[in-house]
């Protein structure tokens, strides 16, 4: 196998890794949009907070002398998910619920304000500089010849794949099998009707935000450990990319968000690997613009017909 094959394979592996985390964040966007039709601009910041909590918990656990990797990861995940869920709930309650119905511009501006607020909250609390964490997970599986060029599937990447997969399986079970999941789906179909049928739609909307936030936390933990560096500004870019992924896959569709995330991750990795790392971010925006121009309903979405 020529070197170029292993290079390509490496890019694909990297892309799928990052892409699955985009998928996790994208699910939050798509669920909220599907149910109340608004873009949760502050969602990216929730992801950022998730990664900060992860770092804090990991540092705390390390200080306590805990070295077992599974314990560290689970500890980080649990604490991060709790805190971000609280944030997701509070954001909805404070900035969005009072503004439901009516002009679409107003909740969007409120969301932007909330996003700026959270970003600066973390900046004041933790400083605006990068914070780095020593690499906790080293090594991986080499694919290809042991000498010369080969691709590496790192253990961290495997962990990301596994955790992401577990999260999505749990989410799917919840959505399809549980009573509350059914209520979520009903609300996404027709909010008013579901409300009239006696279901507490406010609670369902809150749950949607909480689930989205929890998944963003998972992404925050995983990406934080993967990249090893965080700062208060990572939420903005991650949020935009995840939103692009959601739109690419078809906004409102959870499988779409997953598909979109993976595709976007791979596209970015290929751009960085073959063209230029600096223009990586442009890929996401370009994809977004192209999708919205030529197939606004996304890959798995259904085209809407205008009612007059």
């Amino acid at each position: 196998m020529p070197d170029s094959f292993y290079y390509l394979l490496q890019q694909l592996l990297n892309g799928l890794t990052v892409g699955s985390t985009y998928a996790l964040i994208a699910i939050g966007y798509t669920m909220v949009y599907g149910i109340i039709g608004m873009i949760n601009f502050a969602h990216g910041e929730v992801y950022m907070i998730g990664s900060y909590i992860a770092f804090i918990v990991l540092a705390a656990l390390a200080l306590l002398g805990i070295e077992s990797l599974p314990l560290l990861i689970i500890g980080a995940l649990v604490c991060s998910m709790i805190v971000t869920s609280a944030y997701g709930y509070s954001i909805e309650r404070v900035a969005y619920r009072p503004l439901r119905g009516g002009n679409r511009l107003i909740p969007l501006i409120s969301a932007i304000g909330m996003s700026i607020f959270l970003q600066n909250l973390v900046r004041i609390a933790q400083g605006s500089r990068d914070i780095a964490m020593p690499n906790l997970v080293r090594g991986g599986i080499d694919i290809g010849p042991s000498t010369g060029f080969h691709a590496t599937l790192s253990w961290m990447q495997i962990i990301i794949f596994v955790v992401t997969l577990i999260s999505m399986v749990l989410l799917t079970l919840f959505i399809t099998r549980s009573r509350m999941g059914r209520a979520c789906r009903a609300c996404a179909e027709d909010l008013k009707m579901t409300n009239l049928l006696g279901i507490n739609t406010n609670a369902i909307i809150a749950i949607t935000f909480i689930i989205g936030a929890a998944l963003a936390a998972v992404a925050g933990v995983l990406l934080g450990m993967y990249y090893g560096v965080i700062n208060p500004y990572i939420g903005f870019m991650a949020g935009l990319k995840a939103f692009t992924a959601a739109v690419l896959g078809g906004i409102g569709s959870i499988p779409g968000a997953v598909l979109g995330g993976l595709l976007l991750g791979v596209a970015e990795a290929l751009t960085a690997g073959y063209f230029s790392a600096e223009y990586k971010d442009v890929v996401a925006f370009s994809v977004l613009i192209l999708v919205l121009l030529f197939r606004p309903s996304g890959i798995l979405g259904r085209p809407e017909v205008e009612k007059v």
Binding site: I39, I53, I109, I116, A125, E278, D281, V282, L288, I289
Partner: protein, 418 residues
Amino acid sequence: MLRNLKPAVISAVVVVILSGLLMGVRLSQQGTSLVLVGAGADVAVKIAGAALFIFLFNLFRDQLAALWHRVPALPRTPAAFSVLAARPAAHRLLWCFLIAAALIWPFFTNRSNIDLATLVLIYVMLGPGLNIVVGLAGLLDLGYVGFYAVGAYTYALLAMYFGIGFWTGLAAAGAMAALFGFLLGFPVLRLRGDYLAIVTLGFGEIIRILLNNFTSLTNGPNGIGNIPKPDLFGLEFSRRASEGAQTFHEFFGIDFNSVHRVMFLYFLALVLVLFTLFVINRLLRMPVGRAWEALREDEVACRSLGINPTAVKLNAFTIGATFAGFAGCFFAARQGFISPESFTFIESAIILAIVVLGGMGSQLGVILAAIIMTLLPEVARQFDEYRMLLFGLLMVLMMIWRPQGLLPMKRPHLELKT
């Protein structure tokens, strides 16, 4: 009171969860390892205080609401005054007064105040420009800073490569920004509100990233410096004239004073602002402006009346972009140096906040908001660290309490002759 106990406890607990870890401890780099440092007793006190406050607020929510309703309403402005204020003659008087004040004021104050006022005027140019797109036409443009950047870089690059002067640069900046507005507008104007917002945000970011990375052309993150300052019909405002030119103070036979240049920039900005406001004022009373508002109200109805929505939107977008271009050119001239750092999304958000806080569509409101938004951080310097935090909070609160803005737009009164 007791039935509020459970929600009160829950909300207090939520506050602790929200702030406990994130603000109670601080991450600190020590060598290569990460260490936690307690954030200090005062933070713990603040968190406890906030939790207690929320707890009590929720516990006594009903009593507080009753108290709020009993507070007497603010006295309303007397009816006679409102009628008087609405008369066009009164408006014209107000404007004359404002313009006169703006012209006279700089002679009675110091240099740094004038400089600050010039900054305010830049936003007074940007605000109404975005107001056309967002407030009048109802298109949520989150990438307005992109056109601002195009204007600034057009002048800077033309000055660097072709040595052109300010006035030519101004025209070029406006034209270039208009072109970008047209090209960018074309594809996105079919999109619905939220999507339009995100895509325009994307465009703004793409422009910034391209400016940052296209080093061969734009110098990348190092920016472009030595941008020539504007001159008055060839008279320069420097201590010594450059080749073949004459300085302002020599021409008028007065001593050189660095405040002259600052004042000149101020007056220049004032001229540009007045031009902007005049044009927009006219546009509002023309079919174009009415079509923008109609489009914002109901696009379907517009189509049924023969108005082409895409053409109208494109119009708004392009004209809005042109004003941003002018502002960008002036900004470049005033600073003397520009870099992609000045053109981030936050700028777009600030200008959007100005439009929204001022009252979408309302000229006077947007001007007022621009002044407040630019002056406040300067005046409250000690809060500099909290500036953006409060800004975000303000945006949320304004949307909840007064979404129509400070001075909501009033419909022009049209005289009918039968």
